[in-house]
Amino acid sequence: MSIDLSQFKQTFIEESLEGLDIMESSLLNLDVGEADPEVINTIFRAAHSIKGGSGTFGFNDIASFTHVLETLLDQMRAGERDVTTPAIEALLASVDCLRDMINALQDEGSYDEERVASVQKELEKMLDNEASNSQTTESAATIAPPEDELPTATGWLIKFSPHPDMLRTGNDPVLMFRELEGLGSLEVKADIEALPGFEDHLAEDAYLSWEIKLTTDATEDQVQEIFSWVDDECDLEITAIRPDIEPAAVVETAAQVVEEVKETAPQKEPPVAKKPAAKRSAKSTEATSIRVGTDKVDALINLVGELVITQSMLSQLGEEFDMSKLEKLRNGLAQLERNTREMQENVLRIRMLPISFSFNRFPRLVHDLTQKMGKKVSLKMSGEQTELDKTVMEKIGDPLVHLVRNALDHGIESPEDRIAAGKDPVGTLQLNAYHKGGNIIIEISDDGAGINKQRVLEKAVQSGIINSPSDITEDAQIFDLIFAPGFSTADVVSDVSGRGVGMDVVKKNIKALGGGIEIASREGVGSTFSIRLPLTLAILDGQLVRVGEEVYIIPLISIVESLQITKQAVNRLAGRAEVYRLRDDYISIIRLYNLFGSKPDSTDLEKGLLVVVEGDGQKVGLFVDDLLGQQQVVIKSLESNFKQVEGVSGATILGDGTVALIMDIGGLIDLSNSAQKKFSDGAVA
């Protein structure tokens, strides 16, 4: 039977990457000098698994690299080697190498072989420095047993006397004899001398011993191999039967032979036939998968069970329906609705992962960056178990890294500065996540210098974002300047955060996910960046609105309020742009039919409704004919078969099977602004 090992490759890759994450975070937790043995064991175990798997599945480069790593870790685990800072750094570097190698395996690409070789060399050098006994055993094992110069054996005489407790390890002499039979023909003589009287007989003990004459051309090693599991639990003599030597003569030298056998006892297993690396298919399949807890799967299975019951109940009801059963039908439908909703919630839960998947990289990042910057920072994380959608998680990774880099670079001061300011020289960076409403909030706080408002204003004027510092007075607005395109406060473009990606990109990415970011900061005390993100991108609470015959969906989260328009509150700016006075505010009115080219019931503002929405920190009023219901909608992509449409974030399928477009409020405001601009430009021209 041949089994295609490549089918286990994906699992190996996933568990190895997980193992590497564990190794990395454990390494970062290791205290130099007094290392927790349990932590070292955890690291060892991860390396050990990767080595075992890579060897088994034929990824030999990974196996040989991990072998060195494992040996080093094994020595640490046994207390033969000290946990030093250089050792930890070298181990961290090897984690990076392995990650590259495994990612290359996933993408069927290549990795930096030079780097891997140099890290491997470094690890080997460490091993050599304190050559341990593991090496001597290895060399001992390679010593070839003395060559037998006697004529080839025609068989073997085996004396086999199990110790009384051999059966207790699950070994069965009968099976061994059967295996011997596979090598040649057997003559077995049992010695029952040791068999006690019936009353002393213990059923679990072995009493018999055997003398076996095996006629075969098999080697002694092959015979020995069959007994290899029991060599400590039996007395075993194997002597060659040679054409010109009488077996009887050999028996005399039996004692000597036993010695010999014992010396070479731990047989080297036959070399494993290394399979060529799993067949590389032409295409790199982007098989990303999610590991789902069995509890979630079980919950789904239960729900499917309920659904099936409801369905069969309903179909039975349908077969013999009359009006007297109407109430039953209603109940059944209500049950179906509940089943469906629960099912939906649970299916979505499958895509939810704890944010620790994203937070996990930060201990390493903070470790590396602070070393580079000469700062001292302790990283605290909380709420790592807070769950969010896998896609959201993947997309929020880079913005989070950017914010953390920023906090380390611009936020937390150097130890000297901190001491001068009367602070603990070790700064604190806190990552926190929690659920709030239908959102997840991620906070990145530092106890650093805080944002220098004066400098932000100066910089904003310099970069031409604002005309004069006096334009802006409120803190929130000042902080918001940081997110303006072209803004940078770093006086020196540092290697750490000055990478040409501004905070505007961070904000853009967060907004693209339907979220937002806010800053709170006090000079000398620290800053907190709060990111708000929807839990999932797949579903949204929507308000259905009608414009003429068309139905659109406004995300409920962006709706402030809906109101009937009173003419007195409507003003025209410059004769064209309409604004509505909402209490103390003036908001622009966007006539949706204008923007979307629809045929409305009425163009009279008083005959329709104004939906006040907020997007990009701006409030506007959308004029629609009517509000329909609110419902949860499943977001479908317009882009997958068509293209992105301005002012529209996606589409959904309504209860009647028709498609309705979901509005992108930010895009809608942009669209309206550019339409206004065109109009006024046109008016001027």
Partner: protein
């Protein structure tokens, strides 16, 4: 044609001597053909949801078993006279491929006509068509039973700028 008619593309086997099969349809009295392997299904016309600020020939989007599929009116695309949709009006759902991705799109035609097997050398290159049909969209012309059939290159036809790029609409208007 009310019910969707699924074409099992696997059952259509090229006959091995360079012949390709084409599904043809009628449009303002002319017969057009598309590579049958690209045809996903043929379904009756049903209403579509209009997409704002797109060219007129984009009829809108429909729900095709849970995916959102755009529908292109081919008469309008070719600047032909608009025809009220009737019972024979059908939507041919096509698999369109471009360098970046594969998409599913539907085209509205007057009615489906026939399936022909045509070899590559029976396909003549197209002369200039003038304004109505960009010659770029035409793979070639074939003569079948003394009739001319225009074979379309749907990848070129349905991957034009207007159907792909975001800002084209704004800049056109």
């Amino acid at each position: 044609m009310d019910t969707a008619q699924l074409l099992d593309s696997d059952s259509i086997i090229a006959d091995g001597d360079g012949h390709e099969q084409y599904l043809t349809f009628m449009l303002a009295g002319e017969e057009y053909g598309v590579d049958i392997l690209r045809v996903q299904e043929i379904k009756g016309w049903d209403s579509a949801t209009r997409i704002p600020n797109t060219p007129d020939y984009v009829q809108g989007v429909i729900n095709l078993r849970g995916t959102i599929v755009p529908i292109i009116d081919l008469r309008m695309r070719f600047n032909l006279e608009k025809l009220e949709y009737g019972p024979t009006t059908v939507v041919v759902v096509l698999k369109v491929s471009s360098t970046s991705k594969n998409r599913t799109m539907g085209i509205v035609v007057d009615g489906v006509s026939d399936v022909y097997s045509i070899s590559a050398d029976e396909l003549k290159s197209a002369p200039e068509f003038g304004d109505e049909i960009n010659a770029e969209f035409v793979k070639g012309l074939a003569t079948i039973d003394e009739k001319m059939v225009i074979m379309l290159d749907i990848d070129k036809l349905l991957n034009s700028r207007e159907l792909n790029v975001l800002d084209s609409v704004a800049s056109e208007k």
